[in-house]
């Protein structure tokens, strides 16, 4: 893929413009994180070098300024990933309530280890640190959706659903919030 082939949709470009406008004149670099999120969501769930170069050109900054940021933050993937990343929290509160068992269960069910992607490219299993859902432990995040109070049955149901939907999940997906 050359840089020429990479271009945001019109809708995303409008969003890029709107995002840059949130920051003072000359401080467009502030828009880097939100735009990387947008890029990851639009370009197959990960940030390739050409995609990062494209983002640099949009913000009028050096490519290195994008690489050093993209590699710092754990939500950015620098390698291809499955359509759905199952991000299981394994920090203390979740660990106390059985997070390791959830990880093992997914690992056995999908026949992948932590960090791996299923052969059909559908799922990647990842462990992450505290997601601010400790009171609903154990939990996992997939796309922007939190799945809380997990049991093996719940996980099985979720995996079936995701497989049936067969869609890429992203952090920017809209979420139905209970009671809202």
């Amino acid at each position: 893929m050359s840089t020429e082939e990479i271009k945001f949709s019109e809708e995303s470009l409008a969003l890029v413009k709107k995002t840059i406008a949130k920051y003072p004149e000359g401080r467009q670099k502030s828009a880097l994180l939100p735009i990387l999120h947008l890029a990851q969501a639009e370009f197959d769930g990960w940030l390739s070098v050409p995609v990062m170069d494209y983002v640099a050109s949009l913000l009028d900054i050096q490519p290195i300024e994008v690489y050093e940021v993209a590699s710092f933050y754990s939500m950015f993937n620098l390698k291809p990933v499955g359509k759905c990343i199952l991000e299981v929290c394994h920090t203390s509160s979740c660990w106390l309530r059985g997070a390791d068992d959830i990880v093992d269960h997914i690992s056995n069910k999908l026949n992948i280890k932590v960090g791996e992607t299923t052969a059909d490219g559908m799922f990647t299993l990842k462990t992450v640190e505290c997601l601010g859902s400790c009171g609903s432990a154990p939990m996992l995040m997939c796309g922007s959706q939190y799945h809380e109070h997990l049991t093996f049955e719940k996980v099985d149901g979720l995996i079936d659903n995701l497989r049936n939907e067969n869609k890429r999940t992203t952090y920017l997906d809209e979420v139905k919030v209970e009671n809202y």
Partner: protein, 449 residues
């Protein structure tokens, strides 16, 4: 029944929307401040209230505001810290999802006090779904004249934006947060200069936690004095506590400062007691960074007084026998928990989250994780426990930002109070195959995962 001043209306149907929020008295603090008070008077009320920063450090908010530099012709900023990544803490998420307008209202009133015409809410990337909720509330606030130009016909204008992070605990540290907001890696800055002098874009900036900013609303509505009358001593007001771990009723609770810890753990109004009626073993009272305490010391101080939910009572006894209120992330562990295993979990966290700028933190957290891993794998020795102790003393106080201490204190306190749990793993490596370890995989590469 404790007094609720932040979450009073949290469960009112429709409170997420503007109409209901306004019906329940929303945006009164903006009206009162802009129409009847000078900016200095608002700062004074917050000082009088005695409210202390709810992000963890507990620094008096009014005092922090009064340090803000005001050079001519230079913009000032208010930045809300909604990074909420301290393990065990989930109160800000609860507040923002339940009553988003409370935070928006607090941001406007606080910005008026600080003379900030632009403010940002920096929210952790994993809370992306909350951005939609906050932006909807912001839109409603603009539509109803609470944001934008010449609010309520005064000469105060204000714009408010939400900015996402992307997964980095360190961005909760205020200077790392500002770096991140400027589109850089989250490397904490050397202080001084403090953000109050040189913060966002080198301009004077106040960074406050979500809960601190929300508290400005009742403080202005009812007066600083009324707020100061709630709570106990220098711990004024209420605190949102995130309760998790081995308890019957995990969740976010608003408690009046001064509530006995025992009541908080065992009363049905709060945690409801220990899960499966097991015995209490230990509590981390203020998020993963504060010292862990055994059951006897969390329920009563070393002097035998009942331990209370307040800054002073929780820190009674210093680090020998006390802890800290911190962010209010209250993690409860029952008798079956091995504290060395939990420490491994915490230490892995700090190693993963170290930004890597200072060698004591970068190398020390890695080394501690490695040793604990060895101990858990049944290959540890008694000397390893002493080595762990030694490493944490060398990180503590020798780093640019407080993450170094945050990584040291859990180690020190775990060894101080639960050495037997480490020794047990050293002496009795059998049965350890049940211990599983998982590594981080930012770049999703099975070889390094």
């Amino acid at each position: 029944m404790g007094k609720k001043i932040l979450l009073e209306h949290a469960e009112v149907p429709g409170i997420q929307g503007y109409e209901v929020y306004r019906e329940k008295g929303g945006y009164r603090s903006v009206e009162k401040a802009l129409k009847t008070m000078s900016a200095e008077q608002v700062v004074e009320e917050v000082k009088t209230s005695g409210v202390r920063g709810r992000g963890g450090a507990g620094f008096p908010a009014g005092m922090k505001w009064s340090f803000l530099a005001k050079p001519e012709g230079v913009p000032r900023y208010l930045v809300c810290n909604a990074d909420e990544s301290e393990p065990g803490t989930f109160k800000d998420r609860y507040l923002m999802s339940k009553i988003p307008h409370l935070l928006i209202e607090g941001m406007i009133t606080a910005s008026y006090a600080l003379g900030a015409n632009t403010s940002y809410i920096y929210i952790r990337g994993e809370y992306y779904y909350l951005i939609g909720i906050l932006e909807k509330a912001i839109e409603e606030a603009y539509a109803n004249g609470w944001l934008g130009k010449n609010i309520l016909g005064t000469d105060f204008s204000h714009d408010l934006y939400v900015h996402p992070g992307a997964g980095a605990y360190i961005c909760g540290e205020e200077t790392a947060l500002l770096e991140s907001l400027e589109g850089k890696r989250g490397n904490p800055r050397m202080k001084p200069p403090f953000p109050a002098v040189k913060g966002l874009y080198d301009c004077p900036t106040v960074v406050n936690n979500v809960e601190t900013i929300a508290a400005v609303v009742p403080i202005i509505n009812d007066g600083g004095e009324a707020y100061a009358n709630i709570g106990i001593g220098r711990s004024t007001g209420t605190k949102l506590i995130s309760a998790s771990g081995h308890i019957k009723k995990p969740g976010v609770y608003e408690v009046e400062m001064g509530l006995p810890v025992e009541e908080f753990i065992y009363s049905d109004e709060y945690c409801g007691g220990i899960l499966n009626d097991k015995k209490l073993k230990a509590v981390v009272a203020g998020g993963s960074s504060v010292p862990i305490l055994p059951a006897d010391l969390i329920l009563t101080t070393a002097n035998g007084e009942p331990r209370l939910m307040s800054y002073e009572s929780l820190s009674d006894g210093g680090f020998q026998t006390g802890t800290m209120l911190g962010s209010g992330g209250f993690i409860v562990m029952d008798e079956t928990t091995n504290i060395a295993k939990n420490l491994y979990n915490f230490t892995r966290f700090y190693h993963h989250e170290s930004c890597g700028q200072c060698s004591p933190c970068r190398e020390g957290t890695a080394w501690m994780e490695k040793i604990l891993h060895k101990v858990l794998a049944g290959k540890g020795s008694m000397e390893d426990i002493d080595l762990l102790w030694d490493i944490q003393t060398k990180i503590d106080g020798n780093t640019i930002c407080p993450l170094g201490e945050a990584a040291s204190w859990p180690v020190a306190s775990a060894i101080r109070h639960f050495r037997q749990d480490f020794e047990e793993l050293v002496k009795n490596p059998a049965g350890l195959d049940e211990t599983r370890y998982y590594y981080h995989c930012n770049n999703i590469n099975p070889e390094v995962a």
